[in-house]
Amino acid sequence: MNYWVQRLTASIMLLLAVSMLTFGAMNLLGDPLFNILGPAAADTKPESLEKVAAAKELYHLDRPLPERYVRWLGDMVTGDFGVQFSSTGQPPVSDLVVERFPRSLTLLVMAQLLASMIAIPWALITAARANRPADRISTINSFLLIAMPNFALAVILKYIFGIKLGWFPLTFKATDPWLTRIYQTFLPALTIALPAAAVYQRLLRTDLITTLQEDFILMARSKGVSRRRVLLRHALRPSLFSFITVFGINTGALIGGSLIVESIFRIPGLGSAIVEAILREDFPVVLAIVMIITTAFVIVNVVVDIVYTLIDPRVRR
């Protein structure tokens, strides 16, 4: 119980620290007024000055930094991320996030599911045949996948499955029904999943090989348990730790969307949103996305710790 209170406190401190640093850093970067007002921001004409003063008041840019931070924080905890720093300020940042976040999340969930579905059987098969020809060929393939740049893999998959075979659509349409959009997300998800699966397979294979040397595996064999059952029922579960750890880190990293994959497959997700926002010095959007990513990392870490205790009873306290 005490442990979870500590975890919660640490998580809140982390979120506060990240928000402060991002808030401060963004304000060092430049003058958002230019994006709100256009050239008028630099004008000295009386009517321009008036506009500047009005905008400053509207966006609270005339207030000192700490006050603006506290105001932003207060709004944020109620789910209001403020207005965009653009000429219209529309749509509100919260709406933008609500529109784009599900796309990145779908991509993430699909990619991770695909990666696990590929990596786990792959690791089981190669670990059972460690250092034999099939395993060696698999090792070459997995390093190839890990070494290949994301955009190259995206283009290759797009060319083969999208253009040549025509199995999957080439682009994403936000107006299509959700089932169609999931179908459209398959190729980009696979682009993320393949190298991830290769990494997961490497980790899981190594841990499985170590586990298979354990005495309790020989014991299980001597009970007359089949090789297949030994792998699935005895060896897999205690071998999942590195895999789960990296799976968690990857989940956190992919929550913010994958910029390259989102661009190539034209999915307007969080990845493209944050890059656009940084270029436009659109502070509220950047802050909102950073907070989402940070929160996701915190949650994923807690979930990973819970999964550890589910896998191994010795971790429970």
Binding site: F216, L218, S222, P313
Partner: protein, 354 residues
């Protein structure tokens, strides 16, 4: 095939016959013959002790009989279990016998149980696989088995994990697993080495008691002659992958002929000696099996070895008692042995001590 259990099961008489069994491991530095031309037999209900120091091949021998070896190992010879040949073409599917007709208690209970599986599941696994028991029946049998091996509160223990049990309790769980399907042959590979001295006797007594109750044959593998003394009918002493002395337990202790056996016995600390008596160790190290010596493998470490020992390997042959076989040119009690002992006693030594 029937998978035994009922059909063709040996109810009495000869259960296991091993003939000229050799096990060779392919290693990077060349072939290692860990078991060399071993022949032995075991009747139903009998207990055989295999004794030797580390590296003598006793564990490999027991695993060779059971077929629990890595893929780098190669077995030659013959192993007959009941009516079934376990080696070569037409050999039976071992995974059908494992856990059902023969099973093995491993040395270290701390690492031989699956840490992430409840002990009840681990005991129930062979019951469900071999006997096709339902989950409920398997659980009931599991509780009964835990009671048989004297684990208190078995209903609560079945749902615990190995780390919640002491070493002795874990070894009892391991014995419960091996007994689950009522095997005719039980291997116990150093079953007490990893345990507290106080627990050791209890575990050995438990195995003996279950052997009696089930008319089960037991192969007890140990480095400790003291352990086999009270718990076996026959003892086979191993050195360098070979059997060097085989005899009924009482005969062996009354009249051991191989100087190696004698040295093993002398290396056991004794209660009747004053405390801080220096332990007698056997000098030197076990032979290098990559390049085994030409003559008797024990000759380089044997105080009684002569030229013939280093040139020519003695074979396992019976002397006066046909049940007592040993491989030694100058056995304990022979004229040459007595002569050498005399010289050692008078402070003179001849070559051979390394």
């Amino acid at each position: 095939m029937s998978g035994l259990q009922t059909d063709g099961r040996v109810e009495q008489g000869r259960l296991l016959t091993v003939e000229n069994l050799s096990t060779t491991f392919a290693t990077e530095r060349g072939p290692v013959r860990a078991v060399d031309q071993v022949s032995l037999s075991l009747d139903r209900g009998q207990a055989l002790g295999i004794v030797g120091e580390s590296g003598s091949g006793k564990t490999v021998l027991s695993r060779s009989i059971m077929g629990l070896l890595p893929s780098t190992a190669r077995r030659e010879g013959s192993i007959r279990f009941g009516d079934h040949e376990l080696l070569g073409s037409g050999a039976v599917d071992m995974s059908k016998l494992w856990g059902r007709e023969m099973s093995m208690v491993f040395q270290n209970p701390m690492v031989s149980l699956n840490p992430v599986m409840r002990i009840g599941e681990q005991i129930a696994e062979p019951l469900r696989i071999h006997l096709g028991m339902s989950r409920r029946d398997a659980r009931a049998t599991t509780v009964r088995l835990l009671r048989d091996v004297r684990i208190p509160e078995p209903e609560r223990r079945v749902d615990q994990y190995p780390h919640e049990l002491s070493g002795g309790m874990r070894q009892r769980v391991m014995i419960a697993i091996t007994l689950a399907c009522g095997p005719t042959l039980l291997f116990a590979d150093e079953p007490t080495t990893a345990l507290d001295v106080t627990v050791q006797a209890q575990i050995l007594d438990l195995i003996a008691e279950q052997r009696e109750e089930r008319n089960m044959s037991v192969v007890l593998v140990t480095h400790d002659l003291g352990v086999v003394a009270g718990h076996t009918d026959v003892i086979a002493v191993m050195y360098g992958g070979r059997l060097v002395e085989v005899a009924p337990t009482a005969v062996l202790f009354a009249d051991m002929r191989m100087p190696y056996t004698e040295a093993l016995l002398q290396s056991i600390p004794r209660l009747d000696q004053p405390s801080h008596t220096r332990l007698t160790a056997i000098p030197g190290r076990p032979p290098d099996l990559l390049d085994p010596p030409r003559g008797c493998a024990f000759a380089p470490r044997c105080a009684f070895a002569r030229d013939r020992c280093r040139e020519e390997a003695p074979t396992l042959t019976p002397a006066d008692n046909p049940e007592h076989r040993f491989a030694c040119w100058y056995p304990v009690g022979s004229a040459e042995y007595l002569e050498t002992r005399e010289r050692i006693a008078s402070g003179l030594t001849i070559g051979g001590r390394s």
